[in-house]
Symmetry: C2
Amino acid sequence: MENGLSDDTVGNPDAEEGRVPGLGEIGLNNFAPYVMNRIMARWNANLAEDLKVREMSTIKMRALAVLHVSSSLTINELSVLAVTEQSTMSRTVDALEEQGLILRTPRQDDMRVRDVTITQEGRAVFEDVWPIMYTDLQRMFRGIGHDEQQAFLATLQKILRNIRRHEI
Amino acid sequence: MENGLSDDTVGNPDAEEGRVPGLGEIGLNNFAPYVMNRIMARWNANLAEDLKVREMSTIKMRALAVLHVSSSLTINELSVLAVTEQSTMSRTVDALEEQGLILRTPRQDDMRVRDVTITQEGRAVFEDVWPIMYTDLQRMFRGIGHDEQQAFLATLQKILRNIRRHEI
């Protein structure tokens, strides 16, 4: 561009000449990843507490939640979608299979791949826990209108596309 | 209210008669805490990788960041603001003090309380790392305009007020 500013700097005076504004200028509560870390630490702690009563771990619940809305997944896909390291997810899937909550079946056209699916028992366990999560969600958005929630979600989805490494 | 609906249900058909919509109806990518967990897992992993090169841990960086924008804090306040368990923060503060990056001083009017402050060396270390975080922030918001970022932050701040347990 003729004025030497890239598109990114338009409307953002701090970006002029590549100057990096300090954290003190931005302010901790205007630094989005900071606020999100605080929110998610609290969300995850609240949820872990609620799940403990049902003798359920956060990772098991995440695996069941993701499988509940998917037809079948590999362990690799499951670990990305459930935001859990693959080795941890492997152990979780072992435990869930022992409890009869999921099934692993070798794929017809490639026996090396095993597809993970949720069982009826697994669905029942997730559906028992889900209202707790839904109540927590409503508390999270208390006083925030429908349109604001939709706009917030749209921005979150853009951010996830900007930051993710896996195309799922 | 006369129609028997509370304020919360206005404009939200799913909330009528207390019906809880399923996760499948909402959709994983419209369940805000899920999307936020995915974003923050990636943000934190990227940052940890970037910091490793500087021989810095995420928790040390968080402590320095919070102290950089505060005059002084107790360990308790620091652990809330830096989203870190108090016992972990205690050990981190020990290590930072040994490195000369922070100072602990007994408070004049209450010797049982020790105030943590950042040293000039601590500020220099944080300022060295900060441009990396700022670049990551810009990548996170790539293609998202100034107004949308401001609206997103305003919603985040409301959510934090809804969910937090500590009044700081």
